[in-house]
Amino acid sequence: MSGALSLREVSKTYDRVRAVDRISLDVVAGEFVTLLGPSGSGKTTTLQMITGFVDPDEGQIILDGRELTALASHRRNIGMVFQNYALFPHMNVEQNIAFPLEARGIDRAERRRRIGRALDLVGLGGFERRLPRQLSGGQQQRVALARAIVFQPPLLLMDEPLGALDKKLRDRLQLEIMELSRTLGVTVIYVTHDQEEALAMSNRIAVFHRGRIEQVGPPAELYERPASVFVAGFVGDSNMFTGTLDAEVLRSGPWQLRVDRAKTACLGHATAATIVVRPERLRVEPASVGDEAGLAGIVRQAIYLGATMKYVIELSDGRRVNARMHAGSQSSSIGVGDAVGVSWDIADGIVLPGEPEQTSLAGEPDGSP
């Protein structure tokens, strides 16, 4: 099976800003890998270097043992779905899908056969004569997909392909794209800034931040064992307590929070650290249960989300945490204004070095060791 992609120490600098900073990534043939990150994190630039729209300053990009960087875009044999689909407005659906086949000199009969199969795969048989502007957003998306796979590329790139669609359609197309990629056995590199989409679709996710890959791993690993405060904050909701690590506790504001020694062994004494707790791992109990209940706080909002309840709790030092639990569990009797205690299992507190980045308004943290 072909479609093994390998990026080695790839860098790109624009105007002295390192858009992509020595990125390495190995993708196995047939794998679905998502590049996830906020805008400006370097994921799109990385994609453009794979397609050849942007030349890397250094590093190698290798597809099935072949160095790509020296090849022009049109010789790389990569399928790509663009964010705005980039369908040719003056060609109908059939002509659009025929375009890559004609460029490869494939004869008419074979073109017909392949176009028919590609359209069947995306469920658009019978739309051959339509012009792109006569199609809905979802249909255009499918045409773009058909056009990208019709020449059977080993590698399929997708640049935020579902960004312009509404939520329902997006969910359905997510499933379709996953199924299609499995059917074809094609390797997919998928770019998005939507962490839910990344968690739902990928075999592995590469989290981009400031031109570097912060962590690569399967969705569950990113969620359960984030490698950095940034990853913890970007993938899934989280509550963060920052402070100074001191023996078995983290001093954070008025509190001393206990940490798992085994997990923090590698962190030095008196270093800045953050405890990350996912909302569904927080325990919220009425304050009357006893002093052992944990951090004292008052429920400010209780939001009914169907299967779950979400609570916003203001702790005694003024900061807020989110908690989530099954609606209908014993705690669901808690209401707005109630005094509660918040706690968690030590094992559920993920301890990470450093602090979350401040918002731009607050400026950069000093980061002194």
Binding site: T51, S73, H74, A86, P100, R104, F151
Partner: protein, 288 residues
Amino acid sequence: MASAAVSTRQRARSGADLWALLAIPGILILGAFFLLPLVLMALRSVTDPSPANYLVLTSSSIYVRVLVNTFVVAGCCTVICLLLGYPYAYAMHRAGPKLAAVLTIAIVLPFWSSALVRSYAWLVLLRENGVINGWLLSAHLIATPFRILRTNTAVIIGMCHILLPFMVFPIYAAMRRIDPTLLPAAAVLGANPFRAMRKVFVPLSLPGVYAGSLIVFIVALGFFVVPALLGGPRSMMFSELIVTTVYELLEFGQGAAMAIVLVASALMALAVASRFVRLGDALNYGSR
């Protein structure tokens, strides 16, 4: 959609489309000082003294010859402006912001500056003891001064200089409307740069080409200043003939008839071409 809904509601409320009334002063001015004179002239062409005015065109071969020459010159200008203008528009489109600004200014200035001034400049440059001949002679590139003043060549040079913006603006506008991701898309789908241009970019820029060619041709048909200053008797254009008829021969009825013939030629060109062209695009210069 939304604005249509608003004006419908307004109409329902006030009984009349108030916005539409605002155009009245403009319509009156254009009606009185543009449309009415043309209508009166059309009337005059058949009443002063009679429709026989139109027969003047058959009275001497000069009229037909000048009319044919006018079409030939306009056609040459259209082709030359297209050949010069398409690559120029493409360069404007692909250039970085600073170069694009320079190229735009270089094309906007001629559009707005006086045809008279530029014809005069070409007169100074092209005449036998003019600037260009002076250079070529002193560089020993030619032995005797060339003579192109008073020929169609000089007229076409001067006209293309003035008409080029009419070609470049619509083509450039059409190029700007092309989604910039289409060329990368064509490349990644396997099309080499030449194929991507031929199959994607050029077809999508064609509306601009049609519009530009039409405008250049129609405007060229009516040129007067350039052929009058740079041309000679053999390169005369129809507008010159009309001015002579009215201003020197004082044959007002005949002049009116000839003016109507010129407008009719332009309208015919317009009618033939309007199937391909969005005229509104072609005329939207000022805002660019």
